[in-house]
């Protein structure tokens, strides 16, 4: 439908909005998981992707010999959130946290955003690499030879992945 808003009307009153926020809507409305088409398949893929992301962060942290607190300080992100990222695949990482980690770990932000399951476009190649990688790692122990190899293989896929429009 055509919406007619007289120019004079808005320009005579836009100043009333100065300095004011306008958002409306309940954050919990829509129960977001329902909003995703084909919920069963999509949720499973997303969970697995986040699982891989959490494992990746955990392995990279251990590779550097850092505790979660040290990683948080170095990346200037919230330690509490890092703990959740490493351990809870239902958690959706904050964009700012992903950006902080990308700077510290020298992984391009766009790639890390995809790994964290925050991108709208999903890469099949990355999803499959995530699935293969997801079968590894735990705790603060130094990386075993196998874990180091798995991490390097996964890193290679992530960094080789080309952006798709």
């Amino acid at each position: 439908m055509k919406i007619h808003i007289p120019k004079d009307w808005l320009l005579g009153r836009d100043h009333l909005e100065e300095g004011l926020a306008i958002g409306a809507g309940s954050p919990r409305r829509f129960a977001q998981p329902e909003a995703v088409p084909s919920p069963v398949t999509e949720d499973v893929t997303l969970i697995e992707q986040r699982l891989s992301f959490g494992r990746f962060i955990s392995l990279m942290r251990r590779k550097h010999g850092w505790t979660t607190q040290q990683l948080a300080e170095n990346a200037e992100v919230d330690a509490g959130e890092l703990l959740v990222i490493e351990n809870d695949p239902r958690h959706e990482a904050e964009l700012s946290t992903v950006h902080g980690l990308s700077k510290l770990l020298k992984v391009p932000a766009k790639r890390l955003i995809k790994m964290a399951g925050l991108a709208t476009e999903r890469s099949e190649k990355l999803a499959q690499a995530s699935l293969r990688f997801a079968a590894s790692a735990e705790s603060v122990a130094p990386l075993s030879g196998d874990e180091e190899e798995a991490l390097q293989t996964y890193l290679k896929v992530v960094l080789d992945e080309t952006d798709k429009k």
């Binding site: 439908m1 055509k2 919406i3 007619h4 808003i5 007289p6 120019k7 009307w9 808005l10 320009l11 009153r13 836009d14 100043h15 009333l16 909005e17 100065e18 300095g19 004011l20 926020a21 306008i22 958002g23 409306a24 809507g25 309940s26 954050p27 919990r28 409305r29 829509f30 977001q32 329902e34 909003a35 995703v36 088409p37 200037e76 992100v77 919230d78 959706e92 904050e94 964009l95 700012s96 992903v98 950006h99 902080g100 709208t120």
Partner: protein, 207 residues
């Protein structure tokens, strides 16, 4: 899909700028949301974190996934989508539900155009940046909701649940009735606009 000409105010120059309301949220709008809103949101979050603002005081709509909302809305006929463009950039998004009822005592049971979600681009938000770019997005989208309500024969009646930082806008600028916090909507304050309030806000209906 229809596009309607409107205007916003460029805050830096003080001049009016042509804008366009579209009665749809297309894939291109979603692409723009993702490529232009999200990086600005990420920077804003990083700044909030740097300043040590507790997470529960961050604006609640920063992480709204408009791709999911849009996809869901396409499955429900009663949900209508609107986007606002200006200077080639996405300035605002809105979802309206046409199957909701008024809670105002004098018009209980009458239909309203309920604003499920509305947001302005992060660079227009005074809570995220010191120098917002455009002004007028909020009133333009509220006027849009009213015109949709009128077109549906709901006489301009609208309703919405305001985010806490926006209560002043809906109460003082839009002149809506505060019906109190709604426990089933995260205690967000529920506002409605009656026909008379809609007329006061935007003048009598066009013939």
């Amino acid at each position: 899909m229809n596009k309607s000409l409107t205007f916003l105010r460029n805050r830096k120059t003080g001049k009016p700028v042509e804008a366009e309301i579209c009665d749809e949220i297309t894939d291109e709008h979603i692409r723009l949301w993702h490529s232009s809103w999200m990086p600005v949101v990420a920077k804003a979050e990083a700044e909030l974190q740097r300043r040590g603002v507790p997470r529960d005081q961050w604006p609640q709509d920063l992480h709204w996934k408009w791709d999911d909302k849009t996809a869901w809305s396409r499955k429900v006929w009663a949900l209508k989508r609107y986007s606002l463009m200006c200077e080639g950039e996405l300035q605002g998004l809105m979802l309206i539900n046409l199957a909701k009822y008024s809670r105002v005592t004098t018009q209980v049971g009458w239909h309203i155009a309920y604003v499920e979600f509305v947001a302005t681009a992060p660079w227009n938000r005074p809570d995220l940046c010191d120098q917002p770019t455009f002004r007028g997005v909020g009133q333009t989208l509220m006027r849009t909701a009213i015109e949709v309500s009128r077109a549906e024969s709901f006489r301009g009646r609208i309703g919405l649940h305001s985010l806490p930082q926006a209560n002043q806008f809906y109460q003082k600028v839009c002149g809506m009735t505060d019906l109190g916090p709604d426990r089933s909507y995260d205690d967000l304050v529920y506002y409605e606009m009656t026909e008379a309030q809609a007329d006061a806000f935007c003048g009598p209906p066009q013939a």
